[in-house]
């Protein structure tokens, strides 16, 4: 099942399934258990929240705040629909990673498969080969981005210098837990649109962001412990009191 961002304001999903490969191959897999929901098992027809089996979609509302003046809160569907589209726009024979967030349905708990890959239903050697390449590329990017957030933000979270061999797994766990938070809001990072999950973990605030568009759509953008100033801005974006 493919999970996608759902925009209550627009009454539609913000992303679509990658039907560019004939609909048989689910190219995009990332972050099992990510609570960004909204489902279209077929990959062709967006389902309304009520159609989801026992799932409560996370509603992402409000505009992306503070993009550059030329930008608007409208999703650039012409480009953001997928890498195949963007590749076409650049005239490149370029297939890249990851557009959709996919994962199992157990948002609240269960075994997390951080780097998950959607099902491969294509036929023929070429389709399988492409799927394998995409899976490999996807996993590489996912691991790379996790590592970088670890290097840069884990020391602040743990309150000490960190070492990858011992601290990466706890860091991954914090990100997974935060990704299940239903306090979800739009946030831009130097104009890059992301969907952010704000959580209270072990008595501390934590935010994890996933790219909402572009080449890295669906991938981890960053994760960190926001300071007081950041919290104020994020709570404003969330439209809620302190979590």
């Amino acid at each position: 099942m493919t999970h996608r961002y759902y925009d209550a304001g627009k009454g539609r999903f913000l992303t679509r399934d990658p039907i560019g490969y004939g609909g048989g191959i689910n190219l995009y897999g990332f972050v099992g258990n990510n609570p960004v929901t909204g489902a279209d098992p077929s990959g062709f027809r967006p389902m309304t929240p009520g159609e989801l089996d026992g799932e409560t979609p996370i509603v992402v509302s409000g505009p992306w705040v503070n993009d550059t003046p030329s930008d608007s809160d409208e999703i650039r569907t012409d480009i953001a629909l997928g890498l195949m589209d963007s590749a076409d726009a650049f005239g490149q024979n370029f297939y890249g990673p990851s557009l959709e967030l996919v994962g199992d349905e157990d948002v609240a708990g269960g075994d997390a498969d951080f780097v998950g890959v959607g099902g491969v239903g294509g036929s023929g050697d070429e389709g399988a080969r492409v799927a394998r390449e995409l899976e490999k590329e996807h996993a590489r990017i996912a691991a790379e981005r996790l590592d970088h957030t670890f290097d840069e933000h884990a020391p602040q979270w743990f309150g000490r210098k960190v070492m990858k061999s011992t601290d990466l797994e706890p860091w991954r766990d914090v990100i997974e837990r935060a990704s299940r938070s239903k306090k979800v809001f739009r946030w831009s990072t130097k104009g890059e649109k992301t969907v952010a999950h704000l959580a209270r973990i072990d008595g501390k605030n934590f935010v994890v962001q996933y790219f909402a568009e572009g080449t890295l759509k669906g991938h981890l953008a960053t994760a960190f412990r926001p300071g007081e100033a950041q919290m104020r801005g994020m709570l404003r974006a969330l439209g809620k009191a302190r979590p």
Binding site: I79, F90, P97, E144, M163, S188, K190, T215, G227
Partner: protein, 266 residues
């Protein structure tokens, strides 16, 4: 003084011909010459012969705190073959944020690049004013910080002549080997790249990718900026479009690094 909090603004540099230690020492020296000060804290890895051993990231090993108060004490630490200096904490390194510790350190490279390529170096400071609601509520501060960082990058590029450099928020600037592994870098939206590294034809290709961005000749290359705060003209490119262009620029830079390394190996 407090440590920087996310989101982080990073000014990153890459030199293919300097060893990591040389690059760190020269970057820190250049920052000192532009008014940066040591806070005293620095972190090292310790182990027999570790200084010259390849590594992926400062978080590979346990870091030990040492006191480095000036260039002389930095040089002393670097002379020890059993010590690898991995980060130096400074104030005033970017010229952007007062009262914030700014960290000069190595950018992680992938395991497959270890021993094959150099680490980019980066200066980390706070960049929250470029994010979310703050970009409007703190627009003047974002502009001030952005211009200061642009100015600092310009001075450092002219003095240290890196192959390429970039200003990013949260994103990490990859080494050429990592860039050539997969087209996914969105770090090249506000960046410098040198003709010496790319060659004139590829420099033109990169420049032509960004026809509406701010472009300024610096050193022997060009600084391209897609974000209004990071260039004096206030020019901007749609962030989504800029991110796709960055991927293309990253491919060209990665390919140039591969080509240059092959030429050196021959």
């Amino acid at each position: 003084m407090r440590l920087p909090q996310g989101e982080l603004l990073k000014v990153s540099f890459y030199w293919p011909a300097r060893t990591e230690a040389e690059a760190l020492r020269e970057l820190v020296a250049a920052l000192v010459s532009q008014g940066a000060r040591f806070t005293g804290e620095a972190y090292v890895h310790r182990g027999a012969g570790i200084r010259d051993e390849p590594f992926a990231s400062p978080t590979d090993e346990l870091s030990h705190q040492v006191y480095i108060s000036d260039l002389r004490s930095l040089a002393r630490q670097m002379r020890d073959a059993n010590t690898r200096v991995v980060s130096v904490e400074m104030s005033g390194a970017t010229g952007a944020n007062r009262g914030i510790v700014e960290i000069v350190t190595y950018v992680r490279i992938s395991e497959s690049s270890v021993g094959r390529d150099r680490h980019p170096l980066t200066i980390r400071t706070e960049g929250w004013m470029f994010c979310g609601t703050f970009r409007q509520s703190h627009a003047r501060r974002a502009k001030r910080v952005g211009r200061a960082v642009y100015g600092r990058l310009r001075l450092l590029v002219e003095r240290l002549e890196p192959a390429y450099a970039a200003i990013t928020i949260e994103e990490f600037m990859e080494c050429p080997t990592d860039l050539s592994r997969g087209p996914s870098s969105i770090s090249f939206t506000d960046f410098y790249v040198s003709a010496g590294f790319l060659g004139e034809p590829d420099l033109s290709r990169v420049r032509n990718l960004f026809p509406t961005a701010y472009a300024e000749p610096i050193a022997d290359g060009v600084y391209i900026s897609c974000t209004s705060e990071f260039n004096p003209a206030g020019a901007s490119v749609d962030p989504l479009e800029a991110s796709f262009l960055s991927v293309e620029a990253g491919k060209i830079i990665g390919a140039a690094g591969t080509r240059n390394r092959a030429a050196r190996d021959r």
